[in-house]
Each structure stands twice: as C-alpha cells, then as structure tokens.
Amino acid sequence: MENVIRLSHGAGGRMMNDLIREVFATPLDNPILRQMADASACNLQSANLQFAISTDSFVINPLFFPGGDIGSLSVHGTVNDVAMAGARPLWLTAGFILEEGLEMGVLERVVRSMGEAARAAGVQVVAGDTKVVERGHGDGIYINTAGFGVVREGVHVGPQEARAGDVVLLSGTVGDHGIAVLSQREGLRFETDLLSDSAALNGLVEALLDVAPHTHCLRDPTRGGLAAVLNELAAASNVGVEIEEAAVPVRPAVAAACEMLGFDPFTVANEGKLVAFVPSGEAQAALAALRAHPLGQDAARIGTVVAEHAGLVLARTAIGGRRVVDMPLGELLPRIC
C-alpha cells in the first residue's frame, strides 16, 4: 500500500478497489458492508422490508459541463446507485463543502439544478449540511449525497448474482460523460456537440424490472466505465463474461475523441447508462422495455455470461480477433505518439 494518496486512488479502477479493501473495509467491517455493493440492501426485520442505502461524493471539475453540472450529477449519481440495488429511491441527504470565495450565483445555480433533478427523479432531499473551508482548500464546491430507497419486492439484484447463461444488456452509448467533461477541462478543448448523459435511471430500472423481475445484476458504469463494471461483476460472481465489441454502441464523436487520445471507450465514465445481467428467458422482453424508454433507446445486447474463464472478461474485436477487456488501473493517461 502506498503511503500517500494519489489521484488514481479515486479513479474507479484497481487502485481504488485496493484502497477500499486495505484501508476502509477492515475498521468499518460488518456483514452488509462486506458485500461491497454500490448500494447496500439492509433488512429491517420488523417491517419485513429491504432498504437500499448509498452515499457518493462529487468533486467534479469543471462545475458546469455540457449536459449537466455538479448539482444534477450529485442527485443522479446517488439515485442511480440506489436504483441499481433494485430499489425505489425515496430520500436524499446533501452535504456541501464550499470554498471561501465561491460566488453565491454559482451556488444558487447548482442548488437550483439539484432541485430540478430531484423533482424529475421523484426523490426528496430531506437533510443537509454545509461547511466552508478556507480559500485554496477546496475546489469551489464538493457535494456528498446519501440516498435511501426500498428494494422492490421479489427482486434480488447483487454483484454475486450473475449466472452462466445470463444475457448482458447495455442501456445505451458509452463514453459520453467522460469525453464531454474532458472537452471542457482546461488544456483539452475540441469542438464536439457531445453532452454528458447524466440522468436519473430509476424510471428505466422500473421499466426493466416490470418485465424482467429476475434480473441478476444491475450496475451503472461510472468511473472506470463499462470495463470496470464487467470485471467487478465477473469477479464477484465468479463467472466469465464474453462481449461483442461491435455490439457496444459508441457515438461517432466519442469514438473519434477516444481514437485521438488513445482512450478505450470501454473505460470512459458514464452517468446515465446501466448494465444489466438478465436470465436468458427474460432478456428479449428486457431489451424491448429498455428501448421503449427515452433513456434506453440505444440499448443493445452486448454479450453473455459464461462458466469458463471465471473472473475474466473477453471480447471479440471488430475484426473477429479475441482480446481480454482488462480492469482499468486508474487515471486515464493519453498516449504520447
């Protein structure tokens, strides 16, 4: 374990997983936390309900980007984590760490955006906190949101639930958010009409579970992208995954930006997409339900879960070759030549 925190520790790949395992998991250990799901399903014995609770912090820079801002993102991100537990998100808390000198107008814009996002998602922000740190000790605004929802009856979604034979569905194009944000960040300006896909997915999940209640896994591929999610699920469920590269939808502008920078679109962040592992009997209905929803119009079947090469994700490449889709390490570093 390193003795200093590095940027890669927060980038959603191997280094972050190691940090969680080695520094956080043991002192905070309990049976629920041990499952390492994005939102934890918790039983309340007397009420015979399962709750899903999640928390996420948002430190994105720039605060405003094409298609979203830190406010709407902080709502979407946590709503989605709760939804990925097969739960209906109900309530959010919001904690703010504000940097001294932040313009009030900026904060107002962010909070208005949060309100709109919460209303559109059908959730309520029910508790909050504000702290201010000295100038130079923050990045304008940091937001933490925690979310609370009720797991839908009869639904058992979790990272260990994948089974050989499951169909892998993806709700739409990958890489939009990461490239949209990169296009705004200092040092990399190129013209694209690309918007972040930041969106609340709870409605899409409801539509999916209505026709595919036995869905085994749900995950939104945020930092680390599609590659990270597939690898995490393969490892947690001890199964192999095989995907068809040509079946993964990628917008031309995203593909072009990734080519120029040497990024793999499979490792770029998304904020409005989900991956579902669905038993084969419900897969066709599930895909149709996704495509019928405004947020899933580009949904596609991208692969299958297999018993072989447990823990490994393989892909058939565009030209018919075979390669491994590896867990991304950490920060994306563009190539040199």
């Binding site: 200093v4 190691d18 190129f190 080519e259 030209i319 070759g321 570093l333 190539r335 030549c337």
Partner: protein, 371 residues
C-alpha cells in the same frame, strides 16, 4: 484542436476495420506463409494495436511477432528519468510532461511520487500547453520533458520556435528525444535476435519518409513494410512481409500510403533541423547508441533545461530483476520474463514496459497474453 468531423472519421474507421476484409487478409497470410517469419514491429503503438484487435489470434504459427524499442517512455534511460525528477524538485519549477512518464519508477521514486510529495508536475497533452503555462506564469520556470521519437520531436521544435518568436524567457525543454533508424541498426548489429522482417512505424515514417528505411533491404537484406495503426493496415503489412519472406526478396513497401510519402514531411524535418542536432544518447536496454538522439543546438541553448538547471543526479540504480532491456531488444517476450504478471503488473510495475501504454508488457498484460 480542430473540430471533429465525426461522419468522415466513422467511415474511415469502418473502412479500415471491415471484418470481411480482415478475414480475407488473415486467410491470405495463412495460405502464403509456409516458413517461419519472425517480424519485429518497431513501434509500441503497433504492439498495442496488434493486441488490442486480437491480431495474433488470426495469424498462423509460422508468424512470430516481436515488439521492438519503439516505446519512448520505455527507452528513456534511468539516468535521464532521475534527472527529470531532480528538475521537478528544483524550487519553483513547473515540470510538464506527457502522461505516461509520471508512473515510471526512477532509481528512487517516480514523477508521480515526486508530485505527491510536493513537486509541481503537470500532465500536458501537447508541448504548446507547456508553453502556454509558461506564458501564464512568467515568474516560474517551466520545463517541458521532451520524450518521443521523430513523431513528437517536430512539435517540440515548433514550440521552441514559437517561444523564441514570442520572447518567452521562462520556458525550457529537457530533451530525451530519440531517432528510430539508429536503434533498429543497433538491434540488427547486436545480432541477438534473427529477424526476417520489420513492420515500419507509421507515424515516425510519416515524418522521416519511407526512403529512410531503405538501409534495411540494402545493408541487411531485410524487408520492411510501413504500416498504419488500423487492423487492416497491420494485416496488409504482415501479408506484404510474409510474401517477401516467401519470395526471398527484400524491399521497402508502404502500406500506409495515405499518410506516408517517400520523402517524408518536409516542414517537420525542417523544424527539427533548425532546433535540434544529432547526439549520442543512452537508451534503456541498449547503452549509448551513436547518433541516435536529439539535443538542442547551441543557438537554442537558452531553451535547454539541462544547461539552465545543472542539477546533481546520483548514479542511476538498476531496477532489480527487471528485464525490460531484453524485451525492448526483441530478445525476450514479455511472457518469458519471470516477473511478468506475477510481481510486475500495471498496478505494481517493476519497469517501464509495464507502465507505458505503448510498452510491450503492458499491452501483453492488458489484452490477455498472460502465462
């Protein structure tokens, strides 16, 4: 950067990744190849593309692909990296670098670790970004760590010329730039690995021109096929080399004609000529290779970081157990190194070949060529 014309790029990608054409080329290679052909792709970007598209799984057993030293991060000598880190630690200096360099372990630490300990190290995508930083912070010296072959060096030369024209006084370059034909000669001269053909680096050759590789057939009787980076480019180049091997013929073929000309790119070469001169430089894995590097000319001495900041650098230490040098010379496959995937992984790299996106070991690990 210019606006992306998404439609035309998409059609280009479709053209050069057409699965039917790929199948046909792979079948042709399998049919034509009757004898062993050991081919070296000089360029790390080629190794990466070959593995990323799963090309080895389409080739016959007779074709053996070896990665060469075309990974600029990998061939940066330990002493140069240590010097770059020492420069980053000079008070007030902003050290700008391409991303890959920051994770390579030096003798004592990496640039990333130096950054975590307080050095101002910034990743840039272009040397022009570094110049912009210098112009925005005139009170602080900005050093650009120049890594790369003939593809990258012209950009750096242009940036030095731009700095000169704009009268910028706080911008310097620490040049570790290297030239590819001399390294290729060094591999052949060493005679450690018998090569039947070379896949020529597409971007480098766009600058230096296909004629620059004529010495391969003329002096070594080895064929060379210049390749682009799309899967069909690489399959075409491999087929071209296999055909020449089967015919006992050595020539330079250009299968990347949409980018590569015989004479190369004149303005790029002119910029190089103006700012840089050829020097004997050290390559990781090779020692000093004569006339294989670029140093800033006397006329541009004021833009030379090595001259502006003469830091003391203790002697470089070897990375224990690391066999990157042999991998870079094409003598060892990554999978043949005892440390590969066991001790040395992208997360815990022993040497630069596992760190860099263009490193052979990283490509082998990432795309699944594991033991």
């Amino acid at each position: 950067m210019e606006g992306l014309r998404a439609v035309s790029l998409e059609s280009i990608l479709a053209q050069f990744r057409d699965p039917d054409a790929a199948r046909a080329l792979a079948a042709a290679i399998r049919t034509r190849s009757t004898r062993p052909a050991r081919l070296m792709e000089f360029c790390g970007g080629h190794t990466h593309a070959i593995l990323r598209f799963g090309i080895p799984s389409l080739l016959p057993e007779t074709v053996d692909l070896r990665s060469g030293p075309g990974c600029p991060v990998c061939v940066t000598a330990a002493g140069d990296l240590d010097r770059a880190i020492a420069l980053a630690q000079v008070p007030d200096v902003i050290l700008t670098t391409f991303g890959d360099m920051i994770r390579v372990p030096g003798s004592r630490l990496s640039l990333a670790q130096a950054k975590a300990q307080g050095a101002d190290v910034r990743v840039v995508y272009s040397p022009l970004d570094a110049l912009r930083i210098a112009q925005e912070t005139p009170a602080r010296p900005v050093i650009f760590l120049g890594v790369g072959f003939e593809t990258t060096a012209p950009m750096v030369a242009s940036t030095v010329l731009a700095a000169e024209a704009a009268g910028v006084r706080n911008f310097t370059v620490f040049s570790t730039h290297k030239l590819t034909p001399p390294a290729t000669r060094a591999i052949l001269a060493a005679g450690e690995v018998a090569l039947d053909g070379i896949i020529g680096p597409g971007h480098v050759t766009t600058v230096i021109g296909a004629a620059a590789w004529r010495f391969l057939p003329q002096e070594y009787a080895i064929p060379c096929a210049i390749a682009g980076f799309e899967p069909l480019d690489l399959l075409r180049a491999i087929l071209s080399l296999v055909e020449m091997v089967e015919q006992g013929r050595a020539d330079v073929t250009n299968t990347y004609a949409r980018s590569v000309r015989l004479e190369g790119n004149a303005p790029a070469l002119a910029a190089l000529e103006r700012v840089f001169e050829v020097a004997d430089v050290e390559w990781r894995g090779f020692g000093v290779v004569p006339a294989s590097g670029l140093a800033l000319r006397e006329a541009y001495a004021r833009f030379d970081a090595a001259r502006a900041f003469p830091v003391d650098v203790p002697p470089a230490k070897e990375l224990p157990g690391c066999r990157c040098g042999e991998v870079l010379r094409g003598v060892l496959l990554p999978t043949e190194c005892a440390l590969f995937a066991r001790v040395c992984t992208p997360q815990n790299p022993t040497g630069p070949c596992m760190v860099s996106a263009e490193g052979a070991c990283a490509a082998y690990y990432r795309y699944g060529e594991r033991i």
